[in-house]
Symmetry: D2
Subunit: 370 residues, 4 copies
């Protein structure tokens, strides 16, 4: 067991989640590398100092560049605004330091491509923050599908719907301008990643994108409120994905349904400790979707609790993610989802925008890993 100095860029929503995760992960998972909360950077020296004190970092950095350059910072976690992801990652890779980057990979497809190239050139370990595929339930869903539990997959429905802008009277904000902050840029990546994780590459899409409320309080809204698309997967399945920030009543509607020739799966992140499985087996009269409560039999659950049905939560996903990153660094080998998985997602989003612009099916640029 040895220590590794963690440098965190950004201390807001996701920054805090990572700070907590690196505080707890060693005790939870008995990792080979034990994180030392070495340094935190933020939008100003003052806020960095505030985060340092709150989260228990040793030092605050005046800016991200100082942090990346600091010798005691041995791995960089990026939880800063999307527009900064690329430059920070490139600086860290130039020094050969491992990088964990929050989703989306960058602010544009060009960013994403450049970041993958930089990662490849450096050979440093890299990972992207698609935390939701790490719940025990969704990890188990992946395994079930891979093992053929539901047969050949014929249909996928995915959704990421929330309602934080459902009220037309909610004023304009940073959220209501800039493509990366729109629904397709901000919410879609998680579910597209899940779709790829569960079914493999998306081959082509036919999308419709909408700004439901064109203005808020007199200010124009310049990005999308909801979007959806017909999909065809490389494996042959048909599917649909929907993304919304105006889905009144939905709080964390990260929902998927997968039908196969011999079974089906259903999941809703709002009840993240249940996975619903239907197996076309046994007497017809006894068939039905069963509610599997996650427990020690499911991936990564036992580290949090030995009792089934006791449940993991949002923060635990980030802890699992931190474990994966630390283990990847210990091995010197990236773990999925790495930066190329982020690029795969960006390419689907790019195809959706083109499809909508031209009113026709759009193939998704290859390659896709998963």
């Amino acid at each position: 067991m040895r220590e590794i100095g963690i440098g965190l860029v950004g201390g807001g929503y996701m920054g805090k989640a990572h700070a907590v995760a690196y505080s707890a992960v060693g005790a939870v998972f008995d990792t080979r590398l034990r994180p030392r909360l070495e340094m935190v950077a933020a939008s100003s020296p003052d806020s960095a100092e505030r985060y340092r004190a709150a989260y228990g970092f040793r030092r605050a950095a005046p800016d991200w560049r100082t942090l990346v350059d600091d010798a005691a910072v041995e791995a960089v976690v990026i939880a800063a605004p999307q527009a900064t992801h690329r430059v920070i990652a490139e600086a860290a890779f130039a020094l050969g330091k491992p990088v964990f980057c929050e989703k989306p990979l960058g602010a544009s497809i060009a960013d994403a491509e450049a970041m993958c190239a930089a990662a490849a050139a450096s050979g440093a370990v890299n990972m992207i923050g698609f935390n939701y595929v790490r719940t025990p339930a969704t990890q188990f869903a992946r395994r079930l599908i891979a093992e053929g539990a539901i047969g050949e997959v014929t249909w996928f429905r995915g959704e990421h719907s929330e309602d934080f802008l459902a009220d037309p009277d909610t004023p304009a904000s940073w959220r209501t301008s800039g493509a990366p902050n729109g629904t397709l840029g901000d919410l879609a990546p998680h579910m597209i990643n899940a779709a790829q994780a569960l079914l493999g590459p998306v081959q082509s899409v036919m999308a419709d994108i909408e700004t439901v409320h064109a203005a808020r309080g007199g200010t124009a809204v310049t990005n999308d409120d909801q979007a959806h698309m017909l999909c065809r997967f490389s494996g042959g399945a048909m599917g649909h994905m929907y993304f919304s920030r105006v889905a009144t009543g939905r709080k964390m509607g990260y929902i998927y349904e997968v039908s196969g020739t011999h079974g089906a799966l259903r999941f809703n992140q709002e009840d993240q400790n249940s996975l619903w499985l239907y197996r076309a087996e046994g007497p017809q009269a006894e068939r039905g979707f069963r509610q599997i409560l996650t427990g020690p039999e499911h991936p990564d659950y036992a580290a949090f609790c030995q009792g089934p049905g006791h449940g993991t939560g949002y923060q635990d996903q980030i802890i699992i993610e931190a474990r994966d990153f630390l283990e990847a660094v210990a091995d010197g080998v990236s773990r999925w989802p790495d930066f190329t998985a982020g690029l795969d997602v960006a390419r689907v989003i790019d195809a959706a925008r083109q499809s909508h612009a031209h009113g026709r099916w759009q193939p998704v640029a290859s390659h896709q890993g998963a």
Copy 2:
């Protein structure tokens, strides 16, 4: 209160449902017209006689034409194969007799148009069998939306999914050939009707249609297993509809979700006595989807039971339908959904087929009533 002689064409699945409905409807609703089960026709004189005895009709007809022509038959209920809907309806209308026709209106868009024209020319009362919009829950959903309970509607998701052909080893049958027997022809009409009932006309669609299992037991399958489409409604809302007969685990997945600016609704026919309502009202900390159990406060429930939560079932929808038809005949005025509502549905299906064929958005021919 006076009697009316009912002639039923077809005694299978839906024929039986109507026979039971006309036996019970008077006692349930104390209708002005009391049905007399006068005559039943079927595919052969023998089966007609069998149905007569089983359901308690007075007479069996050797064929549907004899039934339509019989003076004691004062109203005709068509529950025969789709290909016969048009000719039977036209014959009844020629005699000025009211016609209730099972969905879909006919085997093609041309049939549907001709049947509407014949209905208009005769002036006789007509109605189409979209029974599912008649549950107390869905009637109440319509009312809530119309009253503005969820604000302006921004999103609709509809689904009619079953799994009776999900098993690839299920052999070919009459269901696996002929467009009217495919998923789009057979299952889609109910949900398209619901979409129109709840949101109004569908303006344009972008569809994808698929035969998942191209052959069954060596026999080619010539119609579709699943289909879905992006929609835009005339009222401005965006939506998606999915239809499937291969949705493993779904038994009666007539499901819809409607989001509005101030609330949302969810419904699943598999639990037809619950309507889920979210109102963006009151303290944030107390908001949530509430499960409204149908009861005497909801449309047409009290006739079946005075106790809330006691529940109505499939057969009760057909009884409500029979009540509507009898009351329409008593009034001499058709009630929604009449034949034009059937044509509205057929036009959406037709647009979906064209959209899929050409890979582009397809406008839906007007007019649409609802």
Copy 3:
């Protein structure tokens, strides 16, 4: 197929349910005996005439005795107030006529015993109206338990909770006086019957009974609002039953949960088309309660609909009940639940009252059939 003349005493809540059931049952089940709605009696000649017209009976009787004595009345259905059950049944039995009696069997344990004796003396077919055990779901639950699907039963929880008197401001009425109208008299019988149907005889009980609101609008309430009891079943299982008319939010809380050594069952009448089954089989990671939607594979469902998940409702239970009564009459042999099943229930209620009065466990008088 031959006709049988039905005489119905009472045309209110349950009277109407039976009138509808006897109108529809022949078409639904193709019964050997076809009911003729011969005569209806009620609290006055006027109301009898109103019911006659509404439900389609041939004749109205000025009083129940005329009805019972009428030669064309070949079977008597009692849906009159509880205090009249005994005298009507005894009169019918004296003439050797089959009797169907709504629950509870009579207004007291003495009534129940006398009615069983009269039934036995006459040899006539008899049946009691515990309709809820006749849903396809609960019939299937009985079969599963009997077949050992959940192993040896170790625990039962039953509940019949509604909220029609939950509001303290609801005024006093006929419901708030008289033991038979209290919760234990009125709501408990259904769930006690279910407990016996599923697990067999109740051996002893320890009860607590309460009038939550001692007065309503200045009028004293003289019967119970809620009651519950610890139970021991003859088969060895431990259990609990709860009954309430003040369970705010519950509309039809006829709920049971049964645990066994190898599985478990859960049911809630508010979603009467679902039975939840857990089987302690297969990999731990895939175990869970499965939601079985009723369908043609389950008892008595197919007569109402060939499609699974389409659902039956409250009225359909009464139709199944009518089928059982007609078939029993055709066979000349009573079917469960007959009058002795009603007495079994009355004995449990009587034991509960004694237990509460003395603050101790009370054995339940034998015998119990089920």
Copy 4:
């Protein structure tokens, strides 16, 4: 912000949970006192060393007494076997050190009383580990009831059911002997505490206790598998509580239902992020239980995530608990649930045992805090 040295006795199931909690709590809640994982003791020096390395403590103690006596250990967390709770707590109190003790307070009512006396004599801060009342949902439920949201409470149903010994073939173990390891000793405390937290003191109980499987693999089972009791609360409400380790299919059935004159609440720990609320308000036709997903509006949620519906898990409860303990130490004032709350629970269990032994209602010894 200053540090406090934590000494943890026990490193198993709950020991690990506390180790993780004290690692993370500062970053989550920005506590005034920042825990330093100073020392861990266990059943042997070897296991203590193993826990030290795994959880990141500075030092391992050869035994609990060394730990309690160590000057750098400023607060003691007891997660050792129940039989040791008392002696460890007394030793710590003798030195004036704050003590957090896992439930139950001790192995017997005498232990619990002695521990309360020792706590009182020392004046040191003390707390007991009833973690489940700390979920955001249950904290919110307490607040709703206290604010009168559901009116006057009339009924409580509580349950703590799991199935880890449901299989009769599971062999005997430490769990199957000794009253404190039985269901009443081990599982009941959590739900009894919840009942007291939500409704106030339990006044009297009438219990039934059972060892379902008298032997396992030839070894006698000497404690209970399931137990339940009728209750009366001091506030007047009637209730029932059930506890089981043989409830097949239940994984974490910490379930409660509370009915009041104007509303009701339902909760199941298996879906710990939902609280179901019914308010007897607004139009009858729109009433129903609503599923409130926990979010930043609910107690202690926002520290874990700013997004509603994203969910907290089991480990997060322990972190909230650690925050409460640290803040209590910082204030020098115990927070509920302190040791007296543990004694309140022990007294209910003691009354249940006496009630069962004598077959009669048993008053619960006062006082009860909550």
